[in-house]
Amino acid sequence: MDGVITFFSSQQVIKAEKVLKKAGFKIMLIPGPREISPNCGVALCFEFEKQIEVQLNLKDNNIIFEKIHYFPEVKKISKWIE
């Protein structure tokens, strides 16, 4: 995973996790990387190549997010949990 979505509110992260999991996306919640967002403590990792589908899915479900980031540094985390 090399994409990260940041949110203002932790409630919206949980909502996003629910709908994206249900839609079959490969995702994971991680502590929000300080470099990209100071807002909510949790961020959502995903595969950046799916950004259009993911964004549409969030929009369709009225989920408010801060920003979608290409953040390859997060690959490290994916490796740690393999």
Partner: protein, 387 residues
């Protein structure tokens, strides 16, 4: 020791479903974390749990957006947040003559600070003419607040009609569902009535623990917070976030209580709130039918089970309400509530101020046998056995 009969469910419901205790235990043992405060799995599990509870609450209140469900420590707090947020000096508020002190006391405080108060008189059976509410509304009215059902005599108020009136006039309408949430279906669709706020408590009809409550806020109502503080979000700024639910949920939420509340509501959803309603209505019906002919027992309110929730106020001739309450407890192990029920105005409306009444309030767990037992007890009391 006789088996306890608990008829004080309008104060707090007892017993709770066993699943409520299980859910609270599960939180302490298996979840543990603080929601929205960190990225570790226990915190995330707590956040997931809170969102699950919001989704469950949304089902009871027809609330289309879970971010507009706010948890507070009780409905009194939710009412105070609304009143202090929506009203400023020079504004007017319209309310009814049967409101609980959780509504009247903050309103009287605000009155001393330049807010005018218009009270719509209810009839002695607690009912109200919705057009009378409409007539009280003026250009300065910034909020209408009404109970959904009286905590003294149980009368159900026509909140949908008042919601229509206030929606038309574009005025926020706060509905106090303290006695109705979980006990009767709430016929306010927040998707339609975007001007409404539904306040609820968790520990009565919703069968959760004390210390839980909140409100569901329609999309046309903008409420600011009374309590400002940490939310886990916008941590780089020292000003309050402007988005819901964070804006109105500062400080760590009562997550163990809310976990229990979810189990209470799940129990009701599984049983079916209409079924709960029918059961309590039947108990009221049996009580009224069997006591109406006893001349020394006076029942207040509509005396129509269709028009009231599962509670009844009455008095026994030649005994004060507190004597009846004491005798019911010590001689028959029946728990009732006596006095003014935190509601002097309702007692003035029905003509029982300052002595008050005895109140029985039923729950889904009360039985027909218990009601019959209470009727026999009251028959004995009414025969002046203890005078």
């Amino acid at each position: 020791m006789k088996k306890i009969v608990y008829f004080d469910n309008a104060a707090t419901s007892y017993p709770k479903p066993k699943t409520v205790l299980k859910a609270m235990k599960y939180y302490f043992e298996k979840v543990g974390g603080s929601p929205g405060r960190s990225g570790h799995r226990m915190s995330i599990s707590a956040s997931r749990l809170i969102e699950d509870v919001r989704e469950t609450v949304a089902k009871v209140f027809n609330c289309p957006d879970t971010s507009r469900i706010i948890f507070t420590k009780n409905i009194t707090e939710a009412i105070n947040i609304c009143l202090f947020s929506l009203l400023k000096s020079g504004d007017n508020i319209v309310t009814t003559s049967i409101e609980h002190n959780s509504v009247m006391r903050p309103i009287r405080y605000l009155e001393q600070n330049g807010i005018s108060v218009s009270i719509v008189n209810c009839f002695p059976d607690g009912s109200i003419d919705p057009n009378a509410v409409s007539r009280k509304i003026n250009k300065k009215t910034k909020l209408v607040i009404s109970t959904h059902a009286s905590n003294v005599i149980g009368t159900i108020l026509p909140i949908e009609e008042i919601a229509l009136i206030t929606k038309e006039k574009n005025i926020p309408f706060l509905i106090d569902c303290a006695q109705t949430a979980g006990a009767i279906p709430i016929d306010i669709d927040l998707q339609k009535f975007t001007n409404c706020i539904l306040g609820f408590t968790g520990h009565k009809g919703l069968l959760g623990p004390t210390g839980t409550g909140g409100m569901c806020i329609g999309t046309d109502v903008n409420i600011s917070s009374l309590i400002h503080g940490g939310t886990g979000s916008n941590s780089d700024k020292d000003i309050q976030p402007d988005f819901l639910p964070d804006k109105l949920e500062s400080g760590t939420i009562n997550i163990v209580g809310i976990a229990g509340l979810k189990a209470g509501i799940d129990f009701l959803i599984n049983e079916g709130i209409p079924k709960v309603r029918e059961h309590e209505k039947n108990l009221v019906n049996i009580f009224i039918k069997n006591t109406d002919q006893i001349k020394s027992i006076k029942i207040y309110g509509t005396k129509d089970p269709d028009k009231q929730i599962g509670l009844i106020s009455f008095n026994v001739k030649n005994l004060s309400p507190s004597e009846v309450c004491f005798l019911l407890d010590y001689k028959y192990s029946i728990m009732s509530r006596t006095g003014l029920h935190c509601n002097p105005n309702a007692h003035k409306t029905i003509g029982t101020f300052p002595d008050g009444t005895v109140r029985f309030s039923f729950s889904y767990f009360n039985t027909v046998d218990q009601v019959k037992k209470s009727i026999l007890a009251l028959k004995e009391l009414s025969m002046n056995k203890y005078n």
